[in-house]
């Protein structure tokens, strides 16, 4: 049974008191075996250790004079990342989790826009830290999660933690800003979603999904995503779960065997790949296949972030695995609705969370309640367009049936939701590629789960430069763009037009 928590500090403190000696986090480390060969072992930290380490990091942040400031965290999911996050927010500072896959220049722009004064990074992102020191004028402190960082003047996080003495310090209030999370906007510029302690803590604890403490969950999604941070880390902590860190997307199958989880939070893309694995062995009895792929103890997949074909729910059911489809967005911290074991309807995205209410306005889903964000950081116009009298306009079209289950029917906003739950702004890519001389007009859209660009080339330029193979030249432009873009923003389909796009009265290209 989970009680409602209204600050993240309360959430962690009560879990540490209730589950102190139980494992909170498990992760893989490489150590030299007896034969000198590297071998992988699992290490773990208890709830008491997690609380103690994060309290010390909170004290270290205070000592640096950074209490209440904006602190960016960048890196893959790790124990250090989680300690840094809890330490920052529980000391009343604002965490800014950043997408480690973005190019260094883009990250520096976000660091600047979010008024970040301290950056915590893992060594794989040392290049970002070096560039940020040079380019981000407001940045005062650089903290490395790993020892021996090559970044000059970086302080070592675990040395700071060892030297710090936990103090009572600042106790965050429910209305305090806890986190700014960047999300793709429809205008092409990513927006910093401001979430308070109440937004995040109540979203994570409002719904009792019936899981016992000690439930083993494996965290596979990127931790800077609201879905992972809220549901794996915050909800996981609140129920006393054992959170196992998947170290690479390459090793999901291997790590399932290693950690033997009971449940995993996934995006539909992962469900689809695992479904192929199950179907490959369709002649073998289902319990044997399930035991081989997931282990006997595995029972639940929570799916969110994008549309999931309901056929997968039936397929996994044959193997004794329940898929619970949910729905949300960063702006609502993030879960808006979810199916549960006791309240389930195929094809729906479940019932609204108990701390929120929903209504339909001109077919669009609007949400109100304690999960709804405070607005976009320093973007009053975008905030006013999205929030109205406390109601969040989701941009999704849908309906509510008589029993209160929500169903989605389409999107109002022009945003691509990829099958792995990433939101991609077509305008952002169009603006970038539109700068190319060879491109006169471009539309970027989703095409069966991958991003497609439809281009009308600048024929005068083609003539002037005597370009013979326009398609090959455009493909070169796309290849160049793809080299610097993160995987989920890459264009994998190119369509060339021989006429201009149809325009509306304001001379904008008609998208649909």
């Amino acid at each position: 049974m989970v009680e409602l928590r209204s600050t993240i500090n309360e959430l962690l403190t009560k879990s540490a008191a209730a589950y102190g000696s139980q494992d909170a986090i498990r992760y893989k480390v490489k150590s030299a075996g007896e034969d000198g060969k590297k071998e992988t072992v699992i290490e773990s930290k208890t709830y008491a250790q997690l609380k103690n380490d994060s309290d010390r990091f909170k004290a270290a942040i205070e000592k640096l004079g950074e209490q209440g400031k904006h602190i960016a965290i960048i890196g893959a999911t790790s124990y250090s990342w989680i300690v840094a996050y809890y330490g920052v927010v529980n000391g009343g500072s604002v965490a800014v989790p950043l997408d480690a896959n973005l190019p260094a220049g883009d990250l520096c722009e976000l660091i600047d826009r979010a008024d970040v004064t301290t950056l915590v990074f893992d060594e794989a992102k040392a290049d970002v830290a070096v560039m940020a020191v040079e380019k981000c004028a407001k940045l005062k402190n650089i903290i490395a999660m790993d020892s021996g960082s090559k970044v000059p003047d970086a302080k070592y996080m675990w040395k700071l933690i060892d030297e710090a003495q936990p103090t009572a310090g600042y106790e965050p209030k429910p209305e305090d800003l806890a986190t700014i999370m960047f999300t793709s906007g429809t205008t092409g510029k990513s927006k910093g979603v401001m979430l308070t302690h109440r937004n995040l803590a109540e979203n994570a604890t409002a719904l009792d999904m019936g899981y016992e403490s000690g439930t083993v969950l494996m965290s596979v999604l990127p931790i800077h995503h609201a879905y992972c941070l809220s549901m794996d880390i915050l909800k996981g902590t609140s129920i006393g779960a054992v959170i196992c860190i998947n170290d690479s997307l390459l090793r999901v199958a291997k790590n399932i065997k290693l950690y033997e989880p009971n449940m995993i939070l996934m995006v539909p893309l992962m469900v689809e790949t695992l479904a192929k694995k199950l179907e490959e062995a369709s002649l073998i009895p289902a319990p044997i296949v399930k035991a081989k792929v997931f282990g006997r103890q595995f029972h639940t997949i929570c799916s969110g972030g994008a549309y999931l074909n309901p056929a997968y729910i039936d397929l996994f059911k044959k193997y004794g695995i329940t898929i619970l489809q949910g729905y949300g967005m960063t702006e609502s911290a993030p879960v808006i609705s979810t199916n549960t074991n006791s309240d389930f309807k195929a094809g729906s995205i479940g019932k609204c969370m108990p701390n929120c209410e929903v209504k339909i306005v001109d077919e669009e889903l609007w949400v109100k309640g304690s999960s709804v964000m405070q607005g976009y950081y320093k973007m009053p116009e975008e905030t006013a367009q999205t929030l109205e009298d406390g109601w969040l306009k989701t941009g999704d079209l849908g309906y509510i049936d008589k029993e209160g289950f929500l169903f989605l029917t389409g999107r109002k906003k022009n945003l691509i939701i990829t099958p792995n739950g990433e939101n991609v702004s077509p305008e952002e890519i169009e603006n970038k590629l539109g700068e190319e001389r060879l491109i006169q007009e471009i539309i970027v859209r989703d095409s069966e789960g991958i991003i497609e660009a439809e281009i009308f080339p600048d024929l005068e330029y083609v003539k002037k430069k005597k370009i013979k193979d326009v398609k090959a030249s455009l493909q070169e432009v796309i290849d160049e763009y793809n080299k610097t873009a993160p995987l989920y923003k890459r264009i994998f389909k190119l369509k060339i037009r021989d006429a201009e796009f149809e325009k509306n009265t304001t001379k904008k290209i008609k998208r649909f």
């Binding site: 896959n101 794989a124 690479s248 997307l249 390459l250 090793r251 999901v252 199958a253 291997k254 893309l269 992962m270 689809e272 790949t273 192929k276 694995k277 490959e280 099958p419 792995n420 789960g449 991958i450 793809n482 080299k483 995987l487 989920y488 994998f492 389909k493």
Partner: protein, 74 residues
């Protein structure tokens, strides 16, 4: 390595062996999703006892590029 890789690809996506060319692109031509591709590389890690860097893997586009990268690791 190339031949071995082609065999593994055939286990992952519905494509005929003879249709796989060195210049075939995993996502555009062979119908891989990004997670299919990562999962396949995970299986190759085990089979060849090598360690693949996820960031480098994300830059691989063609079958030949994958074969070259795996050769390097061996």
């Amino acid at each position: 390595m190339y031949e071995k890789l082609v065999d593994i690809i055939c286990n992952y996506v519905e494509v005929k062996k003879e249709d796989i060319k060195p210049e075939s692109r995993f996502m555009e031509d062979l119908g891989f999703t990004s997670f299919d591709f990562m999962s396949m590389l995970g299986e190759i890690e085990d089979e060849l006892d090598v360690e693949i860097d996820q960031e480098k893997a994300a830059d691989i586009r063609t079958v030949q590029e994958a074969a070259d990268y795996l050769e390097e690791l061996m």
